[in-house]
Chain length 601, copies 2
């Protein structure tokens, strides 16, 4: 088929060349997965990978895979390509021409969409032979015991699994649905810079040294926050963007150095307006992509209520299980410092899960000493506890029955609550209280504007551009910790999937907040001077939200791990085992950007 | 209206608070630009900016602007807000309630879509007063003389101009149309990492120091090239992405350190397949967004032919004006070194443009001495030339008539051609040969695989993953400069707007190309080891393209400057005058990433 040019080729390299020659290949007429009974009699070409190969007697059964699915092809010894085919390695790339025919009735495979037919092969081209794969991608059992790091090293093979293709396809469809919705509602997608100025928003910035201006740096944007506010000041009124965000944080299981945010901002709106349109968007996208009808409206919970009832601001609402404050019940039993509270969760468990429940408690409640805890799991024959001397008293005080568990935390209110609130979310899954097929969205509202950091300094609970409730502005001077923010978080099944607020649109108030956060006038002007100035030239009331797309799609597909819905994620350690990033660049590069010396302390 | 909470507020801060109070604002019932005769009699609320304000006698005419357009509002002295309104500064943010009424016939403004009506104002809220703007955004004449740097310093004001809103809206619509097309054709949008490993592709990488791994760096991806190839190896078959690309290049007028690419890759295709689908996409998007019918098919020009006829590989095809090779005509007149060629362009010009043509020639033809040039512009009374001693001879040799111009370059073929080819593109605009309303797309094909860099070393004309034409593989060993690539550029009106190729899908060939480019085996494995390995596990034939979205949209809207279609671009000097990026971060940040010392040479 590509002999025409062989005539003028040096015969020495001819054999070598034949290896490339097959790239003038037979092109598919059909996708593997679409062939059906109605195609019987048709001559077709499929392109794809050798998914399976078995010989029955001298007949070769080949299963060919492409993005659409699988189809069986049959090669008999009389086929001129027979010897080629019988030596084919799995995952080799092939083009196959043949005629579709019905399978004999006893070979029909009802579990395979193309299981009624097979291709009677006429011609086979091997477009690229494959070496044995290092990753057992189609062996489900072996894959379960394969480390995630190894999967990521060979991500391009891992992605061949239909599950991964499905995940990324659904992700694309979900984003498309959101774009459709926001486009239809008058929003304009605007791309904002990633190389920007360092304007810290809580996490660390990644810094990018400038080659042209030695000693100066760009920083990778943690979010488009300030640019989207500037777009509102520019009068764009309704903006969205599927934005990459970069944060240089310490490793944690579900963190990535870059992640994707569906970022929204609107002018002339209240918090209610933003929440309403985001709810609508979620209902539209979940219906369209998952055929799921979400609640209408989403429930709203006040931050204080969430902390009281659930211990955290992102409770899993798929099940009813409430925390109690039991400070007075346990006083005398558990040592309490001045101001400490005791919080308790009681639940039913089945005895075969005793070890798991105990393990979960130990895993989740921090062991940093800031929160003390005691658990009592009362089985039919024994009591499992970490405080043998206390268990009996607690069983009495709480009237704990057989098959009931109790966890009591004590310490500072927020810390004691959060420890047990996180435990509650996880217990819900372990004990089967949380229905896997339910998507329970809710808004958490009325957050405090500030909280105290580890050093006891005031820090923004969301970010410094969040507007307080206007009627509470007087308290900024007297009792800032009691000021409520016009902020709202969107939660889903125990995860925060979005956070937003009405922003400050007046310079005076913005300066006041920055001052409360400890910035001097000079620091304000240096870091945020452009924003403060912009607020004086006609900044409309505005607000918005940022939705965590990775998390949303992961939950929707039933994963705890966001890496299952990211094509090429970094490991928990922020590395890429495939390419070896981060890596040591050649010295010449470092000289070019004028960076020479690294002090590693 | 928001008095309910005033009761419990300390009267000391009450006056202060009233400033914030108005943020409980009247929300728009209509957009300014949508009000028409049919709304007469309706009470409406509009939100927006004070675009203009004039007093006629004691009546105040206020023009209010929002994203949709302008509307006139009228306030008479009997209005309780009269004194507030008459002192309003331009660009203040307001909410206005009133009744729509017909204007008196003599005040109808036919040039304003809302010019038949006005709002009889009942209530005005000042949501945010504005200080006088530093940028004269609505004074077209003053804006013409405003430096671009100053526009970018106040970009959020510059973006208030309807022209900029239009540009970014069209950009969003154009990208949406492309997404629609590719989604409908079975492509999956996949997000690939921006923080990756340095794998140089011709330009410099931006490096990002890793805080967790001191001495190691991520690099910002110059394009998703390797990731999209890995997605093909993963079996995704049809991929696209609207991808940000980062390149640390030296400043040039139309360069940005980050830009946006519409990135496409397909498996089991030939170059023709990729070109066909991209053509269809362009026809779809231009029809949908600009209502323009593009040619079908786009013409294809071979690289050699483009160089011969037009001098460059991105000729403006809106006009016919061809280069000639005149080496023999000018031999003896112009000094030629061994191997030099002389290339000529002759054209008609009108005499009032003589100075401009001369200026353009001097601006465009490089003065680095590598190309010599002579021009002769023969007017009715005089001859303008840079070589008085030659002009007469050239007029004779070329039989140059009055009103005819001639430019001859001499030097190495490519350099002499490109100098004059670039001139040709610009002359087309200056002389009015290029119709502004025509979009002339074409493909340039059959590029050489390699070219020589300044040091005379072989370098990839596109990138090292480009496949040669398979029948020319033997020439890789004997005469690599003659090997043709399976590469194609998309050009539009004298600009390259896309570049793509069929990629190498076999390890052996990829290694051969990298070796020709001068990489040792160790360097190959270190930089591209993961790609080379991936090619062995079943890499299908694949290819794709990257379209420059900024340039495409700029041309479509009639701009030479891509910054007109980017919301927050950097200046030519790669800085952001608004935020001050790049900047010197606080020392503590540099300590945290363990970078301490910068040697500035």
């Amino acid at each position: 088929m590509c002999q025409w040019w062989l005539t003028y080729v040096n015969p020495y390299i001819l054999i070598h060349l034949l290896n490339w020659c097959e790239v003038v290949f037979m092109k598919r007429t059909h996708w593997c997965g679409e062939l059906r009974r109605e195609h019987v009699g048709l001559e077709v070409v499929v392109n794809g990978w050798v998914h399976a190969l078995r010989k029955v007697g001298r007949i070769v059964f080949l299963v060919v895979r492409d993005r659409s699915g699988l189809v069986q092809a049959v090669v008999t010894p009389k086929n001129p390509n027979y010897s080629l085919v019988s030596e084919l390695s799995l995952e080799s790339v092939v083009a196959i021409k043949g005629v579709v025919r019905l399978r004999p009735p006893n070979q029909v495979n009802p579990e395979m969409p193309t299981g009624e037919i097979e291709i009677d092969v006429k011609e086979v081209q091997v477009l690229n032979p494959a070496k044995p794969l290092p990753l057992p991608i189609f062996d489900k059992e072996l894959m379960k015991t394969t480390s995630e790091t190894f999967r990521l090293k060979y991500r391009y093979l891992d992605l061949r699994r239909f599950e991964m293709l499905r995940n990324l396809t659904v992700r694309a469809k979900f984003i498309t649905a959101l774009r459709e919705f926001f486009n239809a509602n008058g929003f304009i997608e605007v791309e904002t810079p990633y190389l920007a100025r360092s304007t810290p928003e809580g996490a660390r910035d990644f810094l990018v040294p400038s080659r042209l201006y030695p000693g100066k740096f760009y920083s990778l944007t943690q979010s488009p926050q300030l640019f989207k506010q500037l777009l509102m000041i520019a009068g764009f009124e309704r903006y969205y963007q599927v934005a990459r965000c970069f944060r240089d944080e310490d490793p944690r299981a579900d963190r990535q150095p870059e992640f994707t945010q569906f970022d929204v901002e609107m002018s002339f709106v209240t918090a209610e307006d933003v929440m309403n349109i985001v709810e609508e968007a979620m209902r539209y996208a979940f219906k369209k992509v998952f055929n799921v009808d979400l609640e209408n409206p989403f429930p709203k919970i006040k931050y204080r209520e969430a902390m009281d009832k659930y211990g955290i601001d992102k409770p899993d609402l798929r099940f009813e299980l409430f925390l109690e404050t039991v400070t007075e019940h346990v006083r005398g039993l558990i040592p309490l410092r001045e101001g400490d509270v005791a919080r308790a969760l009681r639940f039913n468990f089945s005895e075969e899960l005793t070890k798991n429940v105990e393990g979960l408690i130990k895993e989740i409640i921090p062991s940093d000493g800031k929160v003390k805890y005691v658990y009592v799991l009362r089985g039919s024959n024994d009591v499992v506890t970490n405080e043998v001397g206390l268990a009996g008293d607690l069983i009495k005080v709480f009237n704990l029955g057989i098959g009931e568990g109790l966890v009591v935390t004590s310490g500072e209110y927020i810390k004691a609550s959060e420890a047990i609130g996180n435990l509650r979310n996880s217990l819900g899954k372990l004990l089967g209280l949380a229905d896997k097929n339910t998507y329970k969205f809710a808004w958490v509202v009325d957050f405090p504007l500030f909280e105290l950091d580890e050093e006891g300094r005031l820090t923004s609970m969301h970010h410094p551009f969040t507007s307080p409730k206007l009627e509470e502005i007087p308290k900024l001077d007297t009792n800032p910790l009691e000021v409520t923010a016009q902020a709202y978080d969107l939660i889903l099944n125990g995860y925060e999937v979005g956070g937003g607020s009405i922003r400050i649109n007046k310079r005076e108030l913005q300066e006041k907040i920055l001052a409360i956060l400890g910035l001097s006038k000079d620091e304000m002007l240096d870091r945020y001077g452009f924003l403060l100035e912009a607020l004086e030239y006609g900044a409309p009331p505005h607000g918005g939200i940022a939705l965590g797309l990775d998390r949303l799609v992961a939950i929707a597909l039933g994963y705890d791990n966001i890496r299952e819905v990211i094509a090429f994620p970094k490991t928990k350690e922020m590395t890429d085992p495939m390419t070896g990033a981060p890596s040591k660049p050649p010295e010449e590069y470092l000289r070019e950007i004028k960076w020479i010396k690294v002090l590693t302390d």
